[in-house]
């Protein structure tokens, strides 16, 4: 069955709720009949089957994540979401001070199996609905972070997250959802997959090689994974062979996979949709430096957004987000230089 990411997430949530009575969803506009199913249709219609477990909330993000935290400690498996990742910033106290730390503070006496979902991506809405929040959360011990770039992974990672005993934050990309109807996005990229029959999970902590190659390793998540593949296509025609890695889990990183690839190719670029400063690219770069700097044939290179907020105008926005051509250019230069 071929599904979009929005559909795959919906299917996974539905099945997890069927499987386990303690799973519930909590968020704004997620289960209103005649409504949206959340900002991007992920929970659309689920309220019909699970009226008590699709909980619509007031606009109170700190309250939502606090509720999820407390319910998780008491044995539930909440899936809490924000309509845009940007609003996680309204709930940072609950997420970072409480959810991420309570188990540790308790001396391991409790667990906080919260799933948190947040759409990210720079998508024509201006600075406050455009942030890629990943950089803020990889600085936070206690949370696991995943970022599915295909429907296959979305289904499998959502299920793994629900079954995980630790807090898991899922970043989803607005342009990859494949949301339909009134909630569809211009500029969307097809991330749908064939979803096999029956239940499966994608393990948290494991990345995947999306394309094998010899000359350079490109690392990118979510939309940047797709753009990296497109860049690899462009370069292939020029005889440059790129290996593309999708980390899938952003924390803890699957460094074995990354290091092995970089050892093989000797070169690496990390592509990020967020501003370069303090991003995940920095962490990956630093870890590569620490472990295998001897293998490097050219400097570890980051391709990222400028160190500014996201501008609104489409012209500037296109410049802001790394495009496949820009990725290809940079790689061409890297190979030419060294």
């Amino acid at each position: 069955m071929k599904l979009t990411i929005a559909e795959a997430l919906r299917k996974a949530i539905r099945e997890e709720m069927q499987r386990d009575e303690t799973v519930f969803c909590i968020g704004e506009d997620i289960g209103i009949s005649g409504g949206f199913g959340g900002a991007f249709t992920v929970t659309l219609g689920l309220e019909k089957d699970f009226r008590d477990r699709i909980i619509d909330t007031p606009i109170s993000e700190n309250g939502i994540f606090g509720a999820a935290c407390g319910a998780a400690i008491m044995g539930m498996r909440p899936i809490a979401d924000v309509q845009y990742g940007d609003f996680l910033l309204c709930a940072m106290d609950q997420i970072i001070n409480q959810i991420a730390k309570l188990r540790y503070m308790s001396g391991g006496k409790l667990k906080v199996p919260v799933v948190m979902r947040a759409p990210v991506g720079v998508t024509g809405r201006g600075a406050q609905h455009a942030q890629c929040l990943e950089p803020y959360f990889i600085s936070c011990p206690g949370i696991k972070i995943v970022a599915p770039s295909t429907a296959y992974d979305a289904y499998g990672l959502l299920k793994a997250a629900v079954r995980d005993d630790d807090p898991v934050l899922i970043f989803e990309h607005k342009l990859l959802y494949g949301s339909k109807g009134a909630r569809s996005e211009t500029g969307g990229v097809d991330a749908s997959s064939e979803i096999p029959e029956g239940d499966y999970t994608v393990p948290i902590g494991r990345g995947v090689v999306r394309r094998e190659g010899e000359d350079i390793t490109i690392i990118g998540s979510l939309l940047m994974m797709h753009y990296s593949l497109q860049a690899a296509d462009i370069l292939k025609k020029e005889g440059i062979s790129c290996e593309v890695i999708d980390p899938r889990t952003l924390w803890p990183l699957d460094m074995d996979l990354i290091l092995n690839s970089v050892k093989k190719t000797g070169r690496v670029v990390i592509v990020e949709e967020s501003p370069k400063q303090g991003g995940i690219g920095a962490e990956i770069s630093a870890q590569i430096s620490e472990s295998i700097s001897d293998y490097l044939l050219s400097p570890i290179t980051r391709i990222a957004a400028p160190n500014t907020p996201a501008p609104f105008s489409p012209v500037m926005e296109k410049f802001y987000v790394p495009q496949p051509e820009r990725i290809a250019d940079k790689i061409r230069n890297l190979l030419a230089e060294s």
């Binding site: 007031p58 700190n62 910033l89 309204c90 809405r125 406050q128 609104f312 105008s313 012209v315 500037m316």
Partner: protein, 332 residues
């Protein structure tokens, strides 16, 4: 104030100006709805159709130095505050001629020099900022009032609570205008609020609460004048709730199927523009041909605004790097 006193106080010029502004908002929103659905406009939009009396009633009670803060749904506030439609339109198109030079977009419309903070699209987010603006006015001893617009949904955000309490404690010259349109996105307030009147929350802060009919621009103006006057004269802030309704969807292509048809219909009977037009005609403040003239003028104005916006210059890609730090380049 009685209706007659109010009409007298306002005078014919101001009354027709208010009508014109309301009609301008309606026309602006209807045009861009069309443009948006045609795919000619980037981004997303949240529209103000049905709520025109709120913005115009409140802003008509303000003076030049006053300042307003707005939300994800700012077009109406911006027009009411006097930002030229064409600069708003150009901003929606992401042009350098937009009021934020294309950096802001629909959800961040504003122009500090014209008395409007760029709109803040984080629900509840402008409330603490506006409280801080009012605090500045108080500290500086300036004769200015700060007004925050926000929705029913925003009144459940922690930011609302913290800001209103601080505003009350410091007795700053602010008015907190809650446009209660009964829905936050698709969610009826009945699902997320166990009280009838949001204005009652003022009592938690020892603050004045007040309610006005958000479909009646005269009532809004009347109450707003009172509470803006209180703020200006040092009597402290007010939570002013306007009972209103949006005819359009929440955003973009939302058909608002979550709102019962009857509810929509009953509110449309209270249409703020039709009703105000009737009053103006009845009171002979303007005649039919005057109305027609005025509407034609606005129609033309908005058409011109669209032209201005569509023909306006696109920013250069590298403009991404400007308007950032005041005294430093963007670190690369």
């Amino acid at each position: 104030m009685t209706r007659q006193d109010l009409l007298k106080k306002l005078g014919n010029k101001k009354l027709t100006d208010m009508f014109e502004r309301m009609f301008e908002i309606r026309t602006f929103e209807e045009k861009i709805q069309f443009l948006f659905l045609e795919g000619k406009m980037p981004g997303t939009i949240h529209q103000y159709i049905g709520m025109e009396a709120c913005a115009v009633g409140v802003c008509s009670a303000l003076k030049e130095g006053d300042i307003i803060g707005s939300t994800h749904r700012p077009h109406g506030h911006a027009i009411a505050r006097g930002i030229p439609s064409r600069e708003i339109m150009a901003e929606l198109y992401g042009k350098t001629t937009g009021c934020c030079k294309g950096k802001g977009g629909s959800m961040h419309i504003g122009d500090i020099k014209k008395g409007m903070l760029p709109a803040i699209a984080i629900v509840g987010g402008n409330i603490p900022v506006v409280m801080g603006m009012a605090l500045a006015f108080k500290l500086k001893g300036e004769d200015r009032v700060a007004v925050s617009f926000f929705g029913d949904g925003a009144s459940n955000e922690g930011a609302f609570h913290e800001a209103l309490n601080m505003a009350s404690v410091y007795e700053v010259p602010a008015v907190f205008v809650c446009e209660n349109n009964l829905y936050g996105a698709s969610t009826s307030i009945k699902k997320v609020l166990k009280i009838e009147n949001i204005a009652d929350r003022a009592s938690s802060y020892g603050m004045q609460g007040m309610i006005a009919d958000g479909m009646d621009v005269l009532d809004v103006y009347d109450k707003a004048s009172k509470v803006v006057g209180d703020a200006r004269s040092g009597k402290g802030p007010t939570l002013l709730e306007l009972k209103t309704f949006r005819y359009c969807g929440h955003s973009r292509r939302d058909p608002s199927n979550y709102i019962p048809k009857e509810e929509k219909q009953s509110w449309k009977k209270k249409d703020p523009i039709l009703n105000f037009e009737r009053v103006l005609l009845e009171e002979k403040i303007i005649d039919k041909s005057g109305i027609k003239e005025l509407k034609d003028k606005i129609d033309k104005k908005i058409e011109e605004a669209i032209e201005f916006a569509q023909n306006g210059p696109e920013p250069k890609p590298e403009d991404t790097y400007s308007d950032f730090y005041v005294n430093m380049e963007v670190p690369r």
